[in-house]
Symmetry: C2
Subunit: 361 residues, 2 copies
């Protein structure tokens, strides 16, 4: 059963439920309304009784603890973080344009959104538990049950300790119960999830019930086998690949509208999720990359949050529009990109045809 | 008739309708949900038929124009701006603590909020109309009817041309039809209002129907007589005072909660609305300003948007908590402040008693 407001999304996969908003809806405002945020699930969406819910923290800690939600809310000061959430598979369906379809949820450009998350600081919770020497990774585990790979098991993730201990505004990982000022919807992890600014969505675990402090990355299937960039299906290639952590520099066109003799073009750009990074500039091309024009960045840059941009150009003769972005860390998007068999981190220039331009226009 | 969601607010004045959220609700998230934004009106809230609505632009322009809402949306590219809206009279009721009550809406700390506004760039609209040489001010006029000062007349404002022509993200004035991704509510100016980042709320006119390009400031009563800082009621004092434009550096405590033997303190801080300014630091005191401790700024700084902060301190013996903020432009809040007869721009240190601390604690 999907929440009423969420049903408006475009379903990309019915079971498990995966859905994204229509692209123009994505960038009609800077902050993504809850009804417009993509839903990524790996199993059935669990319905959890808040009263019986517990978060357990164990592993290399001085004091293992179990918190009910009110206990967590009482014990630590509430905080609020703006962060872009993006699936590592966003834009996956474009791999098919290169002649090879990637398996997995066939995302268009909409598996991304920017929300205001409410919760407590993971770093402060970990300090409370007393992280032991030798700790290198923090594991997260949900209350969902993923099927199709043997016995059902929960989705899981882990992040390096160094990231988990960040406390700067905009860089801090949250244990979050709220989204845009409301409790989380079931589709977004009610009653609790973690939110890791700057990291791919898969590192933010919904229906979060277990945190393990460890000297190793999580052994969870989704860390060890799934969210990795690999170029062949040899088991050792996957075993040797590093799990994806930071999201990649990206940009996409969400809307091309004709007005009088002009085209109005809108979209988003997201800097690589590195500490202190931000979008530097966005450019568009109408000749598939021979010449570039600056787009207008219409929102002030933030940490680990997208920038919206727009451009207005004469429509005459324009059959396609291409976008590319640059970030302050010196990254730029490639013209094209080698196929990876799981279809992750597609960030080559994004090109859309202009509707009605016609073959001979 | 007040919209259902808005009725939750605390009414500060029934006619005209003025209301603010409970203070803790204000800072439970960075972006203010529409249901939690204060409502400031000077007359009855008009209900406007979107179909017959027109925006007229006249005065010192090459091309006077009249736009329906769809025409405005078609003609100019849509944009989105995060901006804090704050009433110049916010915290007015604190003047009474100094022994002298200021007339006007008795605001506590809640006549402030930060929203994501959707609309078009005023600068681009003005360029389209062709601003003539000699222009110095842009006037705005609403469709409300303010009573009690002779014949009913619309609320109005004006801003300097230089401000109106700003086009940088976060500094740009919008003609806005949307708020947090939804159409404006009637209480917030449906179908159109302007939003001036960095300026007091009174310069952002709701139910906006008329823009006049001029060599003079607007003659509207609310520009010439009302939103000014004056220290006596002589007509020449008011006539000689400059209308308030930028909002002032400010901070306030929104919540003090006891937990175990600690106090959890939360609040907001807002830098003066100067170009490129932002909050630099926030400090709290438990001895009314003899000693200060740094508060933790929990949200990344933005342009013309507030910062949220929090602090946790031992509760023992603490009877009051005081906050003060500093901004990058070098402003700091004063310990105390001279009374001004209209009760504007109160920004002295904000002190709250700790509930249950008792006289002898």
């Amino acid at each position: 059963m999907i929440s009423a407001d969420i049903k408006r999304l475009i379903t990309r996969q019915a079971t498990p439920y995966n859905a994204e908003p229509p692209a123009p809806e994505l960038t009609s405002q800077w902050l993504t309304p809850t009804r417009s945020l993509y839903v990524r699930s790996h199993g059935k969406i669990p319905r959890i009784d808040e009263k019986s819910f517990r978060l357990n923290i164990s592993g290399l800690v001085e004091r293992p603890v179990t918190f009910s939600l009110p206990e967590l809310q009482e014990r630590f000061p509430a905080t609020s973080t703006l962060a872009t959430m993006v699936c590592a598979g966003n834009r996956r369906n474009e791999f098919a344009l290169g002649g090879r379809k990637a398996p997995g949820v066939p995302w268009d450009v909409g598996a991304i959104g920017t929300c205001d998350w409410q919760g407590v600081s993971l770093a402060q919770v970990l300090k409370h538990c007393g992280v032991q020497a030798g700790t290198k990774h923090i594991w997260f585990e949900g209350l969902d049950a993923v099927e199709g790979h043997g016995d059902p098991f929960p989705f899981g993730a882990s992040i390096p300790l160094e990231k988990a201990m960040q406390e700067q505004p905009g860089e801090e990982t949250l244990l979050a119960w709220g989204m845009n000022g409301d409790p989380l919807l079931p589709e977004h992890g009610f009653p609790l999830r973690n939110v890791v600014p700057g990291y791919i969505g898969a590192r933010s675990v919904k229906w979060l019930a277990k945190i393990v402090v460890s000297d190793k990355p999580s052994p969870n299937f989704f860390v060890q086998d799934v969210y990795k960039v690999v170029y062949d299906d040899k088991p050792e290639s996957t075993a040797n690949a590093t799990p994806i952590m930071e999201f990649i520099l990206n940009s996409a066109i969400t809307e091309i509208r004709r007005f009088d003799n002009n085209l109005r073009i809108r979209g988003f750009a997201l800097a690589q999720g590195s500490l202190g990074n931000a979008i530097e500039r966005v450019e568009i091309s109408t000749d598939r990359g021979k010449n570039w024009l600056p787009a207008r960045i219409i929102t002030a840059p933030g940490k680990n949050t997208w920038s919206l941009w727009s451009a207005t150009i004469p429509a005459e003769g324009v059959k396609t529009v291409t976008v590319r972005a640059f970030d302050r860390a010196g990254n730029s998007q490639p013209e094209s990109q080698k196929f990876n068999i799981k279809g992750y981190q597609l960030n080559s220039w994004h090109t859309l045809p202009v509707a009605g331009a016609g073959q001979g226009a």
